[in-house]
Symmetry: C2
Subunit: 319 residues, 2 copies
């Protein structure tokens, strides 16, 4: 189960792929990067990593990490499907149900485990890659009904070797969660920005509240649109819940006591987040008969996997 | 018109009042601070400022600045109404229409100019006061139908002497603008925080988007509730506009091109904000027959007053 025993190939050497390559290489793993761009290969080699532009040089990896944006995933699945013997394959795309369907349609022979490391920055490319990018960051690994648990544990061992917090979730639950904490905040920021733009006086008075509430609108509009459109059903449900809560707040005006009760709940949530200070550690046996449901329950309760060895997983629960 | 000619009394020596006292004193103005709390008086004196706990020692100020929270404004208006001759009075409360009504009901003899410096921090009290707090910050001064223009110009000269950007607006327009850029962001943050709290998995995955979108929920809930409840009509209108835009975004899903058009508008707004780099300076005569409407038009277009002397105002328009 230890990563050092597994050969890893990383397809795509941007921020995420490049950081993972550097991190695993620094940890002594047998890992090679692939990119179609000679400059990325050159940069990876200059950083002391093994990298190639020729798929034939990937040398029978046990695990393939597809670290490209969604539009390039199909081509990378085709490339991976040609590898013998069939490797475990994972990806880093920010929506999971559509990629799971793509993998199932396009490369059913591969053992696919959907992944999503929550470790982006506003920078991109290998030049921005850093071995410590995943330290302490959540990394969702999807555990759906058709996910092989051994494949899942192998990818989890790799992600925890990068010091990530591996969060088990079904693809649908992942997509619902990121709709709430990432996609809906972009919609709120867009609505607030365009509303304020209709009133130059308001924009002139805007300060810290507006600045923070709209910061994510500095991101490239095409990327935000693709992200939200790619997760339509979950975004609609999450947005509906937020709008229902806004309607309740509206109905609470001008009753300061009723408003304060809601603000007090929100204050408690926000000041207790993130949960790192209120955790307890325990173990799950890798051969446990309820391992799959135990892992799903762990993720649902806000917990994560800290490390994986051949016998057990060390897991962290939030208090 | 120059502030050095006017005697200023500041009632309340917290962050805003204390900073203004220090700033005007450093500029050579005749200024005295009043506070009921002996510790605040002591701190002000230790900072080299004139301060008292006895209203009789306020020595016939030309301008009184009520720098207390809303609940204490009525008592400060009563205290000010006893001063002979009747001074100009301004305040620093974050909603303006309710304070204007209070001043009109309680102290009709005073020449009232509603004010709101947009210069708060998360700290409070004289210990946090700093003379440079207002440098470059918007400071709304209300110009309603019954506001005396001479009184307005006198307060504007004082605020620009503190290096603030004086933004002219009616009380109603001020309240609408701050509803959009301050109060609604708090409601969005509350709705998002409580929605995410219903899903521990979502909270465990939350990162930068969630952090910034909910930052204002770290503020004391009672203060946020009082702020929103005190501006109910304007908050309802502003929230209605934002929710309408959220409905439009929802209807645009899953059409990435339609979504991108909205995100592109929001991106343009956010990256062009704040406007400091795209400005042009000009002058308005203090005796101009259209001064009042010129000032209102300036504020509506996102501009501000940079300085005031006995002949003219230097104003800045955004490009």
């Amino acid at each position: 189960m230890a990563t050092a025993d597994r050969r890893v190939a990383i397809l795509g050497l941007g921020l995420i792929g490049g950081s993972l390559l550097r991190c695993l290489a620094a940890g002594g793993a047998t890992v090679i990067g692939y990119d179609a761009d000679p400059a990325s290969i050159e940069a990876a080699r200059a950083a002391g990593c093994d990298a190639t532009g020729d798929p034939a040089e990937l040398r029978a990896p046990d695990v393939v990490v597809i670290a490209t944006p969604l539009p390039a995933v199909a081509a990378m699945l085709d490339l991976t499907a040609a590898i013998q013997p069939a490797p475990i394959v994972t990806d880093v795309v920010s929506v999971k149900a559509p990629v799971a369907r793509l993998a199932s349609d396009r490369a059913p022979r591969l053992r696919y485990v959907g992944g999503h490391p929550m470790a982006g920055t506003e920078h991109s490319g290998f030049a921005a890659a850093q071995p410590g990018l995943f330290a302490g960051a959540p990394w969702v690994l999807c555990l759906d009904e058709d996910t092989e648990i051994d494949a899942w544990l192998t990818v989890a061992a790799m992600a925890t070797a990068a010091d990530a917090r591996v969060v088990p979730a079904t693809s649908d639950r992942h997509d619902a969660a990121v709709a709430t904490i990432s996609h809906v905040p972009h919609l709120l920021a867009a609505a607030l920005s365009t509303s304020a733009a209709a009133d130059p006086l308001a924009l002139a008075l805007a300060a810290g509240s507006f600045r923070d509430a709209t910061r994510v609108m500095q991101t490239r509009p095409d990327l935000v649109a693709a992200m939200c459109a790619g997760n339509t059903a979950a975004v609609r449900a999450a947005l509906g819940d937020v709008v229902r809560r806004l309607d309740e707040l509206d109905a609470s005006l001008p009753n300061a006591a009723r408003l304060e009760a809601t603000f007090a709940r929100a204050h408690a949530v926000r000041t207790a987040w993130p949960a790192s200070e209120r955790t307890a550690s325990s173990h799950l046996e890798v051969t446990g008969p309820t391992l799959r449901s135990d892992l799903i329950a762990l993720g649902e309760s806000g917990g994560w996997v800290e490390s994986v060895d051949s016998v057990s997983l060390t897991v962290v629960s939030t208090a």
